[in-house]
């Protein structure tokens, strides 16, 4: 994906992809006329550059340029190799809808703890990152994850503490950064932490960036309660109803406005195993922190 910082127009960024000479995924983000921008994106989707570029070039709106003209300039820079293609911030979207799931985090290479989590009476188990850890059996955990087809997102350890086997390293490297699934009528988003914003493909205006920045940068993972009023106001713009995250080794559930925030702590804590049980029952979300004795 290419991210172009615009000059002289309302949207601060344009995102797009090039598949050879085919233009895809055009998004004008962060401002401007959303309706017109979406129309332009749809009209341009999947078209040849030779067809598109003459249409975009030189259109004037303000400051001697326009959204189409800025897109023209961005594509030219990309073709000349002057605009770097960024690694996409990947999202796993679960195809099924669930009623009862378990969410864990910080497995830290503990195969026994992961086996306990996988035995829980739920439709699916999701992991919010750090399958691996500094002193864990990282290859053992990754191989169990691969066998059981556990859905997980990357945590920082998964990027920096690779397994010894190349196929396990590659498996971790290709893991998504965001998790999206449906629990009844509840739209759920999961991620490990704000480390995602350090990656080169991150944009403030990409899908789910708002939710991530509100959790990590504004509220300091719900620890800064003085900003809860502002956080609640911003939830009006969220695209999900439940935000799950890890990273602080704490367990917390807060509801602000119509959005639930859940901080998921480590899978093994003291001599116990812990996870979050999420259920959609009676047309509402039910949350409980479950403990299993070792």
């Amino acid at each position: 994906m290419y991210i172009y910082k615009t000059k002289g127009i309302c949207p601060p960024e344009i995102h797009f992809q090039l598949a050879g000479n085919i233009l895809t995924g055009v998004r004008f983000v962060g401002g401007g006329c959303r309706g017109n921008a979406q129309l332009i994106s749809r009209l341009l989707e999947g078209r040849e550059l030779s067809e598109v570029l003459p249409l975009l070039k030189g259109i004037q709106c303000r400051n001697d340029t326009s959204c189409p003209d800025q897109l023209f300039q961005a594509i030219q820079l990309a073709r000349e190799g002057k605009l770097r293609e960024e690694e996409p911030i990947t999202v796993y979207e679960a195809p099924a809808s669930y009623q009862r799931v378990a969410v864990i985090a910080e497995v830290n290479g503990n195969v026994e703890a992961l086996r306990v989590a996988l035995r829980q009476p739920v439709e699916a188990v999701f992991c919010l990152g750090n399958l691996t850890g500094p002193a864990g059996d990282n290859d053992g955990v990754v191989e169990l994850v691969r066998r059981e087809k556990l859905v997980f997102v990357q945590g920082p350890f998964d990027r920096t503490l690779p397994c010894t086997k190349p196929e396990n390293r590659e498996f971790l490297r290709r893991a998504p950064l965001y998790l999206r699934f449906q629990l009844g009528r509840c739209r759920v988003l999961g991620f490990y932490s704000g480390f995602i914003q350090e990656l080169s493909g991150f944009s403030d205006y990409a899908p789910y960036s708002l939710e991530l920045l509100m959790v990590s940068n504004l509220s300091d993972y719900l620890r800064n309660e003085s900003v809860f009023s502002a956080l609640e106001a911003m939830t009006e713009q969220f695209s999900v109803d439940l935000v799950l995250f890890a990273s602080t080794n704490e367990w917390k559930h807060v509801r602000l406005g119509k959005v639930d925030f859940i901080n998921v702590g480590p899978l093994k804590e003291g001599g116990q195993f812990k996870y979050v049980l999420l259920e959609w029952a009676g047309e509402e979300l039910q949350v409980s922190f479950e403990t299993v004795k070792a």
């Binding site: 962060g30 914003q197 403030d204 205006y205 960036s209 708002l210 920045l213 509100m214 940068n217 504004l218 003085s226 900003v227 009023s229 502002a230 106001a233 911003m234 713009q237």
Partner: protein
């Protein structure tokens, strides 16, 4: 909030410089925390939070500006 500022009379707009911060961005959140703001929307004058969680009536905003920038 920005609309309230844009609607100020020209003689007031001539004596101030307006910066609007977008809370969806890292830069906007950073500025919000620097100002020790707690609610939205907020207006600061010279790095001091003056209006919070409210869009002030135009006369209040003008009075706050004049108190700082006019003799």
């Amino acid at each position: 909030m920005a609309e309230a500022v844009k609607a100020l009379p020209q003689e007031i707009r001539d004596i101030i410089e307006v910066h609007e911060w977008d809370m969806r961005t890292r830069e906007g959140i950073k500025r919000f925390l620097e100002l020790k703001a707690k609610s939205l929307p907020s207006i600061a004058l010279d790095n001091e939070l003056v209006f919070e969680a409210v869009i002030p009536p135009q006369e209040d905003l003008i009075a706050a500006i004049k108190a700082r920038y006019t003799g």
